[in-house]
């Protein structure tokens, strides 16, 4: 039975199953997006939704040792196990609760489905004038007895003059397919700062569709790092709206895929107010039969003058069977702006490899070093030294070389 039928079967069992009925009927109306949908032109859900996903959790026990093994083991951790909040830290000035928000924040079928049926997630509120020193780790672990749909709905509110750094991971510990439909809404109040790191280093049984909305008020600053090193299927939608002046938004991505992995990074930068800035840098490295999609849109609304918006998407295709589709877009309705995008698709520089060979570096190492160098400017935006090391370590594993230089 396909996912749609499973969902209908589940909701037919009782009205209490649907948390938001409007959202649910919206989902039923729209149905899962097909390739005809411009936003899903290169990304097919057809095979995925044909799977026999269970809607209710039937999780197996996850031990503390497993949590430790799959986390970065930071001091401050929020841990969800099989859909339930298992652990949360106490941090002064920060309130962490189970999220019960089902307000109508959805704009397509997938987010509507999340709004309709998600029952869990976190709500993090950072009080005014609070600087959270230590990064906060958020971990969603599932270990299911069967193929499973897991939905979370999260909210982060960073109040005036406050800042926080977050590292989030979603992991499936079982070999049964898990379809994680994640939704996170982030509100940055005046002069608030956030650095959000999404570490997606998943196995072949993890499917993720993630929607993150970041709403920024005057003078706020957001940095969003996507570190995508694996997973059967990953679709990230990252939507920024700058609702006040003097905002800065940064998004960086490093994508390294191998085998038959697929990843689609969709970003939407909406400049609604004047005197703001955005920077976007996505680096993609594709090995094996992997496929990548990048879709980045910069929108500058009328009267949003003095905007500097920059976007770059660089890709390396390192194997004959890998492919990339890229759609960088600019939609500009104000004139006093500087906006640019660049996209490149290519290979490693043969001359550089040869040069390194003559200096005694093996071909494989030379390639790895150059590949790493290619990714490094996006990687350098991570401000948490420990995470930087972890990312570097994961890259060296993925590229199968020693990068301990």
């Amino acid at each position: 039975m396909g996912l749609l039928e499973k969902i209908e079967q589940y909701t037919n069992r009782g009205t209490d199953k649907v948390s938001n009925k409007t959202a649910y009927s919206k989902f039923i109306d729209l149905g899962f997006p097909s390739l005809k949908n411009e936003e899903w032109k290169y990304t097919s859900l057809k095979k995925i939704i044909a799977n026999n996903f269970e809607i209710e959790n039937q999780g197996e026990e996850i031990t503390d040792q497993e949590i430790k093994n799959n986390s970065l083991d930071l001091d401050n951790k929020v841990v969800f196990l099989n859909g339930e909040l298992y652990q949360k830290p106490t941090i002064s000035g920060v309130k962490i609760e189970k999220n019960i928000d089902h307000s109508p924040k959805y704009n397509d079928a997938i987010t509507a489905l999340n709004a309709a049926l998600a029952e869990n997630g976190y709500n993090i509120t950072v009080s005014e004038n609070t600087i959270v020193d230590k990064p906060l780790e958020i971990l969603f672990l599932t270990k299911n007895k069967s193929e499973n749909l897991a939905q979370y709905r999260n909210e982060i509110i960073v109040k005036k003059n406050s800042s926080i750094k977050i590292i989030e991971q979603v992991k499936n510990l079982s070999t049964n397919l898990c379809f994680s439909n994640m939704f996170t809404n982030i509100n940055l109040e005046e002069k608030a700062i956030i650095e959000f790191n999404k570490l997606q280093n998943n196995n072949e049984s993890q499917i993720i569709v993630d929607n993150t909305n970041i709403n920024q008020e005057t003078g706020s600053n957001s940095t969003f790092n996507t570190l995508l090193f694996g997973g059967a299927f990953t679709r990230n939608n990252l939507n920024f709206s700058q609702n006040g002046e003097r905002c800065e938004s940064n998004m960086n991505g490093v994508v390294i895929l191998d085998n038959s992995e697929f990843a689609d990074n969709h970003t939407y930068m909406d400049h609604l107010k004047a005197n703001c800035e955005s920077n976007e840098l996505y680096k993609g490295i594709y090995l094996g039969k992997s496929k990548g999609v990048f879709n980045g849109k910069i929108m500058v609304r009328p009267d949003a003058q003095k905007i500097n918006a920059f976007q770059a998407n660089n890709n390396l295709l390192l194997s004959d069977d890998s492919s990339i589709n890229s759609k960088p877009q600019l939609e500009i309705y104000a004139d006093d702006v500087k906006c640019s995008h660049g996209c490149t698709i290519g290979q490693l520089d043969e001359d550089a490899i040869f040069y390194m060979n003559t200096r005694g570096i093996s071909k494989q190492d030379a390639k790895a070093i150059l590949t790493y160098a290619f990714a490094s400017d996006a990687l350098n935006k991570i401000s948490i030294p420990y995470l930087y090391d972890v990312a570097k370590d994961l890259i060296s594993k993925k590229l199968n070389v020693d990068l301990s230089f």
Binding site: L317, K327, I332, D335, G346
Partner: protein, 484 residues
Amino acid sequence: MKKEELSEDELLEKVTSTEYKYGFTTNIDSDTIPKGLSEDVVRIISKKKEEPNWMLEYRLKAYRTWLEMKEPDWANVNYPKPNYQDIIYYSAPKQKKKLDSLDDLDPELKKTFDKLGISLNEQKRLSGVAVDIVMDSVSVATSFKSKLADLGIIFCSISEAIKEHPELVQKYLGTVVPARDNFFSALNAAVFSDGSFCYIPKGSRCPMELSTYFRINEAGTGQFERTLLIADEGSYVSYLEGCTAPQRDENQLHAAVVELIAMDNAEIKYSTVQTWYPGNKDGVGGVFNFVTKRGICHKKAKISWTQVETGSAVTWKYPSCILKGDHSIGEFFSVAVTNNLQQADTGTKMIHLGKNSKSTIIAKGICAGKSNGSYRGLVQISKGAKNSRNFSQCDSLLMGDSCGSHTFPYIEVKNSSSQVEHEATTSKIGEDQIFYCNQRGIGTEEAIALIVNGYCKDVLNQLPMEFAVEAQKLLEISLEGSVG
């Protein structure tokens, strides 16, 4: 300073009063058929043109395909959809007899050409350009025909080609742009009444520029011309196309199809200066320009599209290259200017199929007034297109805070030995550049013209000399007073 504000108003006044210089009509008797489209109309057109049966069948098939198609709405343009039953599909200037020489032309018609700036004799003498003129829907004059014929070059109207060279037309018509390709190509295939045909034989280099001028004259007519250009192995041709229409309050439809075939080692250079009536400052009237242009490159062949687009109320146009042969080359150079309420969604498609194929895209958009300009392009590198290369540069220059400029590139790469580079920028015309020019005594208007010309230079340089000068002037006229 206070002085400047005053001149801003003056400038604004000037923009809104800039008139379309080709907005006249010619009083020529014409042979028109009633409005509307049906199988009968298609038959009438075919009959009027004394076409062979295969051509009628081709048209009817296209018409039936068209009936099942929907008008596309994916482009970033908004316009009232034309009522296809309210258009006259055939209008020919009445002529007593077939002309042997341009000197025999109807004097009224000749005046039209003079107003268009095409003094045929002058052009003949000075630049040796062979000109074919399509008025409303029918080719009215082709110059230099016999001289070209000596070289085996066929340059005539497409209706003549259908009669005189049916084997060529039948072999190639619709092979690059099939009728079913899109809504407008189907419509064109059903009702096209004329256009140009050109065949360059093996190994020959066409000694002069070939040129077609298109003109919509009659009210309520649509223009559906069809151009088919075949460059046989190792040949070369440079082809120019220009177009104008009278100033009318209604929207006129122009849905043309251009097909280029470049055989092995052949080269085609196709240049367009598009100046259809853009409508007035309030967006009333103007031509809807929905055009399908595509070329196919065989082994080591090259097709180069150059366009300067300043006209039309709405433009929807993507001159494309199918790079089928190994080592084939596709180029697209474009300047698109929109002012007042004009909308343009234009770009190209480069489909790389052959090994070592190369493509270059240089697109310069200039938006002023309340206009919207979009670049939409596709670069597709297939799995077999080893070592292929693409470079794209799309820049937009904005003048005034009510216009919009958009870039929608699609890049699809399935090959790890290929390199694709795409760059796009959007910015305001540089105030520091204008001030620098001012300091040297160059006024703001001239400074803008100078800066815009410099900005478009890479594209204008691709145009044949006599067109380049015209295009430069055109840019100035289109943007007159567009900066406050």
